[in-house]
């Protein structure tokens, strides 16, 4: 209790924890869609581009959060358009955009006369530098991203699952694609102060990957990933405060530790589930009367399925299991 009161007695720590909570919610919410779409590295790329945005802020004296949001959105829309219309190889085009983003950021920061230490607080996060004004921006942006990620879940899921099918249903598929990219860009800017631009992608991807070990549906994965994003974000900030390291590193290490722990757990869950399925279906285990579904033909000597004499009747070997005649149908045997 003492530790909690001590932490909360610092204004900067309260702000850092609120920022971490919002980041921990928004990043996996967007990340679930990116991973589902097999664009797990997109957050990484946007993070690189956003660095140029931060540098623009440092150079001009505008708030770096806003310049980062603007440049990251521009970058994410470019990525999306290259993906959709790109005649050249998309991954090469994207790689060049990423390099340009990071080089531009370092160059502009140098021109602004800022030091590498300043840049580091954006690259890997910094708990002491979340200003009250920053917190408002972070709060509003994270709320908008979370509301869209939850409210438009069926649409965004459909786009990520199968974009072509979504287009064929008459949905504005391109608009939704761009929306996902913009949400990712906004999340990068939100997460900049907590986990940092270079590691934000980890907070988008790792909680989702961890959740996937234990779930079999998108919805459950999504909800579990939010929890798995919040826990390491909060504890990472607290850890960083005590040991005085960059919060981004401790958050990501904790999230990865969760993934490592979930791996054997997931194997166990899957094995138990498989046993459950077998126990529920295989009549050799349940001894139940299970008629075979829609059997296309009558088994006889000539049907091509090997006959197996079994006590008082004859079974037929059918795709690795036995069919036993029972009245006018066959039982699984």
């Amino acid at each position: 209790m003492n530790i909690v009161t001590e932490l909360l007695s610092y204004d900067f720590m309260r702000r850092a924890l609120i920022a971490a909570l919002l980041t921990g919610l928004a990043a996996p919410a967007v990340g679930a869609y990116l991973v589902h779409r097999r664009l797990a590295l997109m957050g990484d790329g946007i993070g690189h581009v956003a660095l140029t945005g931060v540098a623009v802020g440092l150079l001009t004296g505008w708030a770096p959060v806003w310049t980062a949001v603007v440049v990251a959105i521009a970058g994410s829309i470019t990525i999306e358009l290259v993906r959709a219309y790109g005649k050249a190889s998309a991954d090469v085009a994207l790689a060049m955009l990423f390099y340009g983003g990071i080089a531009g950021g370092v160059l502009l920061t140098g021109l602004a006369g800022s030091t590498a230490a300043t840049l580091n607080t954006y690259l890997f996060g910094s708990i002491t530098t979340v200003s009250p004004a920053d917190l408002w921006v972070i709060g509003i942006l994270a709320a908008v991203v979370a509301a869209l990620a939850v409210g438009l879940a069926p649409q965004l899921f459909a786009i990520c699952q199968d974009e072509e099918f979504a287009r064929a249903t008459g949905m504005p598929a391109r608009l939704y694609s761009i929306l996902i990219a913009v949400m990712a860009a906004v999340t990068v800017a939100v997460a900049m102060r907590t986990v940092g631009l270079l590691l934000v992608s980890a907070l988008m991807v790792v909680p989702v990957a961890t959740a996937m070990q234990l779930t079999r549906g998108f919805r459950t994965t999504f909800l579990l990933a939010l929890t798995l994003g919040v826990v390491p974000s909060l504890s990472g900030v607290v850890f960083a405060f005590h040991v005085d390291v960059a919060p981004g590193a401790s958050i990501v290490v904790l999230a990865l530790a969760g993934f490592v722990l979930s791996w054997p757990l997931g194997t166990l869950v899957r094995r138990m589930r498989a046993r459950e399925d077998v126990a529920g279906e295989d009549p050799r285990i349940t001894g139940e009367h299970i008629p075979t579904e829609d059997h296309p033909h009558e088994h006889d000597d000539e049907c091509g399925h090997p006959a197996v004499v079994h006590g008082d009747h004859t079974d037929y070997l059918h795709d690795g299991h036995l069919h036993a005649p029972h009245g006018r149908h066959y039982d699984e045997h």
């Binding site: 649409q155 549906g217 006018r328």
Partner: protein, 252 residues
């Protein structure tokens, strides 16, 4: 005389400068089951993708339900089944979740699914015989079952026209039969089907008319001879009629 559901006139489609369809005239009437046949690269997939609005038309015109495609907005009347062997994304998804996306044309953003939406999804999953797998991850299903999930997804929108692009590609004979039964139930409700096939397999008895494409031109349009015991496949199944009725009311 049934009204045409799809009508293409002098349809020319180019994909990246390369002409794929040349002046194709083609129609599907209400309640018909029409199959598009042809070799690889003959343009049959491109034709259905053009009908589904997925590739731009270079010249000529497509009419859907009597309306020019350019001003056509009732896309929920068309259910599209893409040519795909796997239906999985990066994150696990259940059968119910995937099929639910077929219902989106009936739903509004930010509003939860209605009773009718949920019923339609369950009906569609039942149609393809996967009700007992409804909450299972789609990645745990076999290739044939995944293909049936894609059909359920298109059927969940209760479309008047079902467009399928090689639904049987890569499936074994048993899966093709299961698919043919699902399609038969769909057709029995008076709906229209346009299906691209590489070979007819167990679908042959369902088909009213075949259109054969060769190098982007129609070379045959009319009834197809139905070989006794569909051709080209080892038929070790002696079919008995009237003996057994499958779970969805069709004759096995």
């Amino acid at each position: 005389m049934n009204a045409p559901v799809v009508e293409a006139r002098h349809l020319t489609v180019e994909l990246g400068e390369r002409p794929v369809l040349h002046e194709v005239d083609f129609h599907v009437n209400e309640g018909e089951v029409v199959t598009l046949l042809g070799a690889n690269g003959s343009g049959k997939s491109t034709l259905v993708r053009a009908v589904a609005g997925l590739v731009p038309v270079t010249s000529g015109e497509i009419t859907l339900f009597g309306q020019p495609q350019r001003s056509f907005r009732a896309w929920k009347r068309i259910g599209y089944v893409p040519q795909r062997l796997t239906a999985t994304g990066g994150v696990p998804a259940t059968v119910r979740e995937v099929v639910s996306s077929g219902r989106l044309a009936h739903r509004r953003p930010f509003l939860p699914a209605s009773r009718a939406d949920r019923d339609a999804v369950e009906w569609a999953i039942d149609l393809v015989g996967l009700s007992d797998r409804i909450n299972d991850g789609i990645q745990t299903l076999s290739g044939g079952q995944q293909q049936r999930v894609l059909i359920a997804r298109a059927a969940a929108g209760t479309p008047d026209l079902l467009v399928l692009d090689e639904p049987n590609a890569g499936l074994d004979w048993r899966s093709q039969e299961a698919f043919a039964r699902s399609l038969r139930t769909f057709v029995a409700s008076g709906r229209t089907v346009l299906v691209v096939l590489h070979d007819m397999g167990p679908l042959a008895p369902l088909v009213d008319r075949g259109v054969v494409l060769d190098a982007g031109r129609v070379t045959h349009d009319g009834p197809l001879p139905v070989p006794a015991g569909a051709a080209g496949m080892p038929d070790d199944h002696r079919h008995t009629t009237g003996e057994q009725t499958g779970p969805f009311g069709w004759i096995s």
